[in-house]
């Protein structure tokens, strides 16, 4: 009797989750496989064409000067964005951990950009980072000029070669509060007794942070780097909203979009998508593997 009941529930459980699991298998993993197939094909134009050309699209990409710009831009953006978020994040978290009045207000203030879309952020920063000079100067340049910081006046995302660095600023604006929240969680998990012991031994507050707290925050830094790193590999909307489609600010996600849906080079677009997937996988899979193992042992 009990046995029969178990079977009935097992069947019911399967029926309940089967649609979702199937959907994920098809729409995530099936579609990835389908993309791989497209990336090996010579599909150009609206009608699908799966004629196999091997690694042709990938080789073409590696020889494509535009893709070289993409890789360079992604590297520059990632270094600045991840570095900036980690620096501001840990700084703000330590600042907020000092027991100052209004802590929760400031915490919410640093975090609110997370609630906004990259498009809104991009549209607003597009005007803050207006590169016009001289009598048409506006935005932050105008502000710098007015308060005597005119050496800071610059051409933002229209700076030759380094325009992508300017895009990292709104990205940091949006994600540093989140990084702070991650660090704050880490700080709160460090037992106060540890700091007390160091203080009793005569260690200064700065020494305690450098030698005890920061090393203990390493796991937080690592997960923040992975989360932020994978966001930076996918950066897309922010660039479009700040600057539109400009080759000087091109990244793989933008290239994929324009070459596929404007240019109809489906084969090439798919190969960019797959390369993006591989780079995210290299970054994320060891991390997921680790956290799954920790979960199963705990």
């Amino acid at each position: 009797m009990a046995r029969k009941k178990l079977d009935k529930d097992t069947i019911l459980a399967m029926i309940l989750v089967a649609p979702s699991i199937l959907a994920v298998l098809i729409f995530v993993y099936g579609f990835i496989a389908w993309s791989v197939r497209v990336s090996f094909s010579n599909w150009v134009g609206l009608l699908p064409n799966y004629e196999f050309i091997g690694l042709g699209n990938y080789i073409g990409l590696l020889q494509d000067p535009r893709f070289h710009i993409d890789i360079r831009n992604t590297v520059v953006f990632t270094v600045l964005f991840v570095g900036g978020c980690l620096f501001l994040g840990v700084g703000l978290a330590i600042l907020l951990d000092q027991g100052l009045r209004g802590e929760s207000f400031f915490r919410s203030l640093f975090l609110f950009p997370m609630a906004i879309s990259f498009i809104v952020t991009g549209v607003v920063w597009r005007w803050l980072m207006n590169p016009a000079m001289g009598s048409r100067m506006s935005g932050l340049n105008l502000l710098f000029d007015a308060v005597g910081l005119d050496f800071l006046v610059n051409k933002w995302h229209t700076t030759p070669q380094w325009g992508i660095a300017a895009i990292a600023i709104p990205a940091i604006w949006q994600m540093s509060g989140y990084t702070m929240a991650l660090y704050l969680g880490g700080l709160r998990a460090i037992p106060e007794s540890l700091r007390e012991a160091a203080r009793v031994d005569g260690a200064s507050e700065i020494y305690i942070y450098r030698r005890i707290i920061l090393p203990l925050l390493w796991p937080v830094t690592l997960s923040a780097m992975i989360i932020l790193g994978h966001i930076s590999l996918k950066v897309f909307d922010l660039i479009i909203a700040v600057a539109g489609k400009q080759v000087s600010l091109d990244v793989p996600a933008v290239y994929m979009w324009t070459t596929t849906f404007d240019g109809q080079f489906y084969g090439r677009g798919a190969s960019i998508g797959i390369l993006l997937l591989l780079s995210v996988a290299v970054l994320v899979i060891p991390y997921l593997y680790q956290s799954l193992r920790e979960e199963s042992t705990s």
Binding site: L12, V24, F27, Y29, Q98, G99, I240, A241, G273
Partner: protein
């Protein structure tokens, strides 16, 4: 928490410096909000790039009216998208999370990593098949097609959020229900569902925000008349005809729903961000 904070030896000048630093940092985060608000409330005659940092002389709504006229249909599109997306995602997530918590099935060890990785994939790697699928099924260009997309690609995060919440339900309660003869559905209905409210709030907020703020799926999958707010805003910002002040007001209009949620339900919002690590 308070007690330990008070213990900290800290002299007054140090505190003052810390506050100055904190206020300085606040400026960085408030700057864009300041410009949006100040510009939004200026009248058309008062708007000029030269004086964009000045406060308005009075409260005018010209910019908001103009922005709303441009964006109204797209705000509706976003609502039509986001409400069913959040509701269906939460229901699916709850049921999936429950079943996966309660029931060790063959292959479970494979399903979790697959779900987890599904949260992180760059959507560029599935975009072409997705467009083909939408074209074949006739959903291309429409809001239901976009909602379906968000629901499906939201399954990993919603399922895992509910699962991590349900795992904290004491085993004894489940066991007691089983002894009382409760089946799978009764256990869900009487034991798990009643304590699910916080998880529902987290997931509803998460999917609402994700779908409201999404650009990639929306720009690829919808026709201009079905554009949600993000695509419409980006288009408006890219056009030469719409003045920058209207763009600022439009940005604020587009940001308001998620900002309101953040202001009132921020705690849950944060929990959503933390629970599933994060998808980009």
């Amino acid at each position: 928490m308070r007690a330990r904070v008070a213990d900290k030896p800290r002299r007054a000048p140090t505190r003052a410096w810390l506050y100055i630093l904190l206020l300085f940092m606040s400026l960085f985060y408030l700057l864009p909000m300041y410009v949006m608000l100040v510009t939004g409330f200026k009248s058309f005659d008062e708007v000029s790039l030269k004086t964009m940092w000045n406060l308005p002389s009075g409260l005018a709504f010209d910019n908001f009216v103009a922005a709303y006229e441009q964006l109204a249909p797209h705000l509706w599109n976003s609502l039509r998208l986001v409400i069913p997306t959040a509701a269906i995602s939460a229901m699916l997530g709850s049921i999936n999370g429950f079943v996966l918590t309660r029931w060790r099935f063959p292959g479970a060890d494979i399903v979790f990593p697959l779900l987890l990785f599904g949260m992180f994939i760059p959507y560029q790697s599935i975009l072409i098949p997705l467009v083909q699928f939408m074209r074949t099924t006739g959903l291309y260009g429409s809001i239901p097609g976009l909602a379906l997309t968000h629901i499906i690609y939201g399954i990993p995060i919603t399922t895992l959020t509910f699962r991590s919440y349900y795992i904290t339900v004491p085993k004894e309660m489940v066991e007691a229900a089983r002894i009382d003869g409760a089946g799978l559905l009764e256990t869900y209905y009487h034991i798990f569902l009643p304590v699910s409210a916080p998880a529902f709030v987290v997931v509803l907020i998460w999917q609402f925000t994700a779908a409201w703020n999404d650009f990639l799926f929306a720009v690829v999958l919808t026709n201009p008349e079905n554009w949600p707010i993000t695509v419409a805003l980006n288009n408006l910002a890219g056009s030469q005809i719409i003045a920058w002040n209207v763009q600022m007001a439009a940005s604020l209009v587009a940001a308001i729903p998620t900002l309101i949620i953040y202001i009132f339900l921020g705690r849950y919002f944060l929990r959503g961000l933390m629970s599933g690590a994060l998808k980009g």
